[in-house]
């Protein structure tokens, strides 16, 4: 075969099956009775002349080459008894099946191509949702939102919140650092209290607070009292639960 005849790049073929179909077509071979020796020779000639840098494609072509050679050698093997021959499968059967199946999809792909050309003449629109619709927010039925939440539940939530709020303030105790940023420091308050009660026999905690209103002040004062008690400057009495706290100076 002349080189010029092979002057088709393998890239022109979709794959080995495509090439085989081309050879069958060109030689007017019967697909059900492919002259395997001839087609293998022609196939190999194409492979030899192959110009492709695509190693994937190359290897696919080589796999087929190996298959063709295998089929060829099977067919060249001496045949056994006549009877057996009829039952024996043609070594080319698998290949023929593959070629036919491939040919079907190849045919379909041509049909699709035509259909695509026709279909490309139709244009689809773009989304055109009016702004008013896009920005629309469904009015919510408050009753649906409330659902089965009762007034009692609402109250319970509020109670829990109030409790939590106090807890949060109380936690300040463990975070003196944040308090010291306030106007009053426990240390300063301790000194103040010591001065306030110096010379007094005893003083009511409420009286001691005096001008020191506010939650933080109460807490700081209370902490200062506890601190002074610990360090032995004062003692603290409370006659009954929730009763007045009475502070006695030891100085």
């Amino acid at each position: 075969m002349a080189r010029t005849e092979l002057d088709i790049k393998l890239n022109d073929f979709e794959g080995p099956l495509d090439l085989l179909l081309h050879l069958i077509d060109k030689n007017k071979f019967n697909i059900f009775d492919i002259p395997i020796v001839e087609i293998t020779d022609q196939y190999m000639a194409y492979i030899d002349a192959m110009e492709t840098e695509d190693m994937d494609l190359m290897s696919d072509f080589l796999v087929m080459a190996a298959e063709l050679i295998a089929i060829k050698s099977k067919m060249l093997l001496p045949k056994e008894e006549e009877v057996k021959e009829e039952e024996e499968e043609d070594p080319r059967a698998e290949l023929v099946k593959a070629l036919l199946e491939y040919k079907v999809y190849k045919y379909a792909s041509y049909e699709l191509k035509d259909m695509e050309i026709d279909a490309s003449k139709s244009f689809y629109g773009k989304e055109a949702i009016p702004k008013e619709v896009k920005n629309y927010e469904e009015p919510v039925d408050p009753a649906e939102v409330v659902g089965d939440v009762t007034l009692a539940k609402l109250q319970e939530v509020f109670r829990a919140l109030m409790r939590r709020e106090t807890d949060r303030v109380d936690q300040v105790r463990s975070k003196f650092g944040t308090i010291t940023r306030d106007e009053i420091k426990i240390e300063d308050r301790m000194i103040e209290i010591r001065n306030d009660i110096k010379g007094l026999k005893s003083i009511n905690f409420k009286t001691l607070l005096g001008r020191h209103h506010g939650k933080i002040n109460i807490i700081v004062s209370f902490m200062a009292v506890l601190e002074l008690m610990k360090t032995g400057f004062i003692t603290v009495r409370q006659d009954e639960i929730f009763g007045d706290i009475v502070i006695d100076s030891l100085e």
Partner: protein, 193 residues
């Protein structure tokens, strides 16, 4: 084939495919018809769209310099049903907390709510306003004039009460009780604040 009809169809196809506004010049070029005629055609097409109880119409800008297709406003309702996925709304814990504060402390500012909850509550407040359970009832006479929130009539309706007097008592006395309770629990002694 009726030539005019085809021209109408062509205009419809063009306006539909373009999506955006198409100029009279462009239409004239595409239809190979002079501008005055195109203007007349579009005018007739507009009438057809009106008459035939169609879902779309042709709007024109700058006295027929540009045309565009758009949906008739009559069908916005259907579009809304198409676009809006109904969401289920309910009072989450966050909303419930916020609502309870507004209910019992109203009128109240957002900052006060946040002070009680200890976290920013803008989203929750906005949601409750959106749900029409709370609303602006005034402005605080303070720097920035922050909004004061209170509950709405819908709030009363939804909780089956006729006025805020029906709210379980959380008047100042009651509030003090709460605090006392809380303080007791926290181990803080009873202090007059």
């Amino acid at each position: 084939m009726d030539n005019n009809k085809n021209q109408y169809a062509a205009i419809e196809a063009i306006l539909f495919a373009a999506g955006d506004a198409v100029t009279l010049d462009q239409l004239s070029t595409a239809l190979e018809t002079d501008k005055e005629e195109v203007k007349q055609l579009v005018f007739e097409l507009q009438k057809k769209y009106e008459e035939e109880d169609r879902g779309i119409r042709v709007v024109d800008f700058d006295n027929g310099e540009r045309y565009q297709l758009c949906t008739k406003t009559e069908y916005y309702e259907e579009l809304i049903k198409l676009v809006n996925v109904p969401k289920s709304h309910s009072l989450t814990d966050v909303l419930l907390e916020t609502l309870s504060i507004v209910a019992y402390k109203q009128p109240v500012t957002r900052v006060e709510i946040e002070k009680i909850r200890g976290v920013s509550s803008a989203h929750a407040v906005n949601k409750l306003v959106e749900y029409n359970l709370i609303t602006e009832v005034g402005r605080l006479d303070a720097p920035g004039h922050p909004i004061l929130f209170g509950t709405t009539d819908d709030f009363l309706r939804c909780f089956g009460i006729s006025s805020m007097d029906d709210l379980p008592d959380i008047d100042p006395a009651k509030m003090a009780d709460f605090r006392k309770e809380a303080e007791e629990e926290a181990g803080v002694i009873n202090v007059e604040v």
